[in-house]
């Protein structure tokens, strides 16, 4: 069972690992065109692409550890190349998540202000270019693991089987997380603070859409969404620190897979409440259309599912 699960992750990593670089080329390119053409529609479309790719980057990084598990014992596989790729991927992931965060903020600002402040457009431009460079570097290093034909001539490669010492930035971060006494409990506490921020706002917004607190307009609650987004950001950062600290206890854990799937779908669901006209037009006392209610109920189910799967990591899976 464990072997087949690991092989699945390796396949999923092969499927996903082209999305971040190609997605950022497409999303970033469209974004730059939207700035030149001064097109609001293109801005929103490109920002949605960048946000979506920043979410897909999370499982891309996570499944990389499953791929490592599947190939590190094979002959000719270099531990140093795997470590370099993993470290570069962590840097790329960090920049992509910040790009996604500012892209979401721009979508939220557009909904409230009918425009995106120039400072945020500048931040997104810089972050997109840096993310693209970091992603292409990570992709290139990943390709060198299995494609010796693109390896630089004379490049040293330590066979993975020859060393038991983890190498690379990600392993250094992981060792800091597990080796520093206050780090894990601090991240646990912050993870719960992020969760309460996120779930509190999500429930307020979604309950209003399904018909509770009808006297409150959606626009009033929409103003709270950045608090939820910041809570989500805190949980992505602390969650990735947990993962880099002990990847093995997550990559063999079905509860973790379901949690990640629901996080991604719920993240895309959040775009609906951030940007779309249907919920935004909901005034005091008005009843939401069926599509908005469906999105609200699905959001509550998804986020409570994320909470459930996170809590069940030690019980349904093998974590801790």
């Amino acid at each position: 069972m464990r072997v087949s699960l690991t092989m699945d992750l390796a396949h999923i990593h092969l499927l996903l690992n082209h999305f971040p670089s190609i997605g950022f080329i497409i999303g970033g390119g469209l974004f730059l065109v939207s700035l030149v053409a001064n097109s609001d529609d293109l801005k929103r479309a490109s920002l949605t692409v960048l946000l979506g790719i920043s979410l897909i980057a999370i499982p891309t990084y996570i499944t990389g550890n499953g791929a490592q598990d599947a190939i590190e014992h094979l002959p000719g596989i270099s531990a140093s190349l795997i470590g370099a790729h993993e470290g570069a991927a962590l840097v790329a992931l960090a920049f992509m998540e910040f790009t996604g965060a500012f892209a979401w903020l721009a979508l939220w600002q557009f909904r409230r202000l009918s425009r995106i402040p120039r400072w945020n457009l500048a931040v997104i431009t810089v972050l997109t270019l840096v993310s693209l460079g970091a992603t292409i570097r990570a992709s290139n290093l990943g390709g060198e693991i299995r494609h010796s034909e693109i390896l630089a001539a004379g490049a040293a490669a330590t066979p993975a089987a020859a060393t038991s010492d983890p190498v690379g930035l990600a392993r250094t971060v992981g060792a800091f997380v597990t080796g520093t006494r206050w780090m894990w409990p601090t991240c646990e506490t912050l993870h719960f603070i992020g969760l309460t921020l996120l779930l509190g706002v999500v429930l307020l917004v979604d309950l209003r859409v399904v018909g509770v607190m009808k006297g409150v307009s959606f626009a009033s609650l929409h103003r709270l969404l950045p608090w939820a987004a910041i809570g989500f950001g805190v949980n992505v950062i602390t969650g990735m620190l947990f993962f880099t600290g002990m990847p093995v206890q997550y990559i063999h854990n079905p509860s973790f897979y379901w949690k990640m799937v629901m996080v991604l779908v719920a993240g895309l669901n959040a775009v609906y409440f951030t940007l779309f006209d249907e919920p935004w037009a909901l005034g005091p006392g008005e009843d939401a259309p069926f599509s908005a209610k469906f999105a609200a109920v699905s959001a509550m189910v998804l986020w409570i599912g994320v909470l459930y799967c996170g809590s069940m990591l030690p019980f349904l899976g093998n974590a801790f």
């Binding site: 903020l105 600002q109 409230r112 202000l113 402040p117 520093t180 006494r181 206050w182 780090m183 409990p185 601090t186 506490t189 912050l190 603070i193 921020l197 103003r223 950045p226 608090w227 910041i230 809570g231 805190v234």
Partner: protein, 36 residues
């Protein structure tokens, strides 16, 4: 840094930072909405 001091300092610091960022964002957006 000890376990108790480390967790209290970092949790308090990070929470304060998160709250400050969210509050500043809310204030600045509200000002822009009012056209100030």
């Amino acid at each position: 840094m000890s376990l108790v001091v480390g967790t209290i300092v970092w949790v308090t610091g990070a929470t304060a930072l998160v709250g400050l960022v969210a509050w500043a964002l809310d204030r600045s957006t509200a000002r822009r909405e009012r056209g100030e």
